[in-house]
Amino acid sequence: MLKIDGLRVNYGGIEAVKGITFQVPERQIVTLIGANGAGKSTTLRTIAGLVKPSAGRIRLQAEDITGMSPDRIVSKGITLVPEGRRVFPDLTVLENLKIGAYLRKDSLEDDLEWVYSLFPRLKERSWQAAGTLSGGEQQMLAVGRALMSRPKLMMMDEPSLGLAPLVVKDIFSIIKKVNEQGVTILLIEQNANMALHIADTAYVLETGRITLTGTGEELLNNEAVKKAYLG
């Protein structure tokens, strides 16, 4: 579905991504794991159109989407749940969900119901300002907001960051559920254990290069991965 070919990105004067090639097959959960500064976030931000690559191609199905503006990429069906959730604190929960569907002109009722069924807590709080939600609820809202654009591919940047272990478990079970309903997932995580458990395909990223590939299970049992990322 998504093909990344020889992607290089300069970010803040250094080459953060040094020519990576990988694929996200349709309906799978794919994860990129790696330490801080490995280039994971930069990769997702480049796919989302926030950063322009210096070389390489990004293809969605057959179409070349390299260097397109973020709004066009959203309209192609790719969405990013940003690191640190970044909900709009002054907007209500409902407004946050509606703004996720900013480019859509059709009725939102069905999708609102869908998101509320995934996250009943958001329905209870739909009139509350998003800034008053707990961290876990804000993460749910960020995922719900992304789903409101009806994405084919949902990218997630460190969804477990700063959340309690129980909440992380909840979030991951929702990710699986969303995936079973047909949304392809590209996930990056420092919490490699959780990510590898749900991933169909996994890549290890080290200082801007992909060093290992396999199914989630293969990497879970890989000695090098165990040593470096699973502690």
Binding site: G49, S75, P82, F88
Partner: protein, 299 residues
């Protein structure tokens, strides 16, 4: 009593006119964190446009029609000017430090003033009498122009319309989102440049309406006519808490009223000194203004 009434009338009318300018400062600041120093000069250009357009249109339209068409054209051209300034002077500096954008704004301000001097030859231009607005009425024994009475109501209508737009429409939601977080707004598919242009369009339109009300009360316009009202409106926006629309309106009425009171006292020569002393006091006592948000990273 009559004296007090006349002070009050001129105070709220002045306050309303400042409010229309102050909203332009506060909207742009809310989104770009930029103090748009050229805003007062856009207000002046709107006044000059009315002078020249009414004379030009008057040569082949009836006087009433010339004014009517003139008002609409002034509104449209002022909006176009605000839009063009943003695209030419601020947009290319989107990722530059904020200080650079501010200096660009100061540059645009001088550019507009000098251009106006070139066009007018520095001579005061007589503002055309607007039908109805320029007529005199007598309220409670005080003779004043209709515009004085109309201003607060017109301002109220425009402010209510604007808050409805911001709080209850999709564009308004996008404006609130962009004001908080450029990058996440882009991820939602919002074209932030369009939203930023929109704030300049709204601000310029309000400044154009403000110029029609303001200059009706004054005999003539000079190229510097925008700078003091602009500064006072800026003080009003800071007073109310820059970034907040209700704040700008309340601040403008306070600045307008105090200016009117001092101009009616023996100390009238100090009226501007008082306005700016007020600014210093606010900045010392409550740096975020009456309704301002707590933000740590301001210029």
């Amino acid at each position: 009593m009559q004296f007090a009434l006349s002070i009050f009338l001129s105070g709220i009318s002045l306050g309303g006119q400042y409010a229309l300018i102050a909203i332009g400062y506060t909207l742009v600041y809310g989104i770009l964190r930029l103090i748009n120093f050229a805003h007062g000069d856009v207000f002046m250009v709107a006044g000059l446009l009315m002078v020249y357009l009414s004379a030009f249109l008057g040569s082949f339209l009836s006087p009433g029609a010339a004014i009517g068409v003139g008002l609409i054209l002034v509104l449209a051209l002022t909006v176009a000017l605000g839009f063009a300034i943003e695209r030419a002077a601020y947009k290319p500096l989107r990722s530059a430090p904020r200080m650079s954008v501010m200096i660009s704004a100061i540059g645009v301000s001088y550019l507009l003033q000098n251009f106006a001097t070139y066009i007018t030859g520095g001579l005061p231009q007589t503002y055309p009498a607007l039908p109805l607005l320029s007529n005199n009425v007598i309220i409670g024994g005080v003779s004043t122009k209709v515009v004085t009475v109309v201003t607060p109501f017109l301002v109220a209508v425009l402010v209510i319309a604007l808050t409805q737009l911001i709080n209850h429409t999709k564009v308004g939601m996008a404006m609130r989102a962009v004001a908080k977080d450029f990058e996440t707004s882009q991820l939602m598919g919002i074209k932030i440049n369009n939203v930023i242009s929109m704030t300049f369009v709204i601000g310029s339109a309000l400044a154009a309406v403000g110029s029609m009300l303001y200059f009706t009360n004054y005999p003539s316009i000079v190229p510097l006519s925008g700078s003091l009202p602009g500064l006072r409106a800026f003080v009003a926006a800071v007073f109310g808490g820059i970034g907040s629309i209700p704040g700008a309106v309340v601040g403008a009425f306070i600045v307008g009223m105090s200016e009117s009171i001092i101009k009616g006292s023996p100390f009238s020569i100090f009226s501007d000194a008082f306005t700016f002393a007020l600014l210093i006091v606010i900045l010392v006592v409550k740096p975020t203004g009456l309704f301002g948000e707590k933000v740590t990273d301001k210029v």
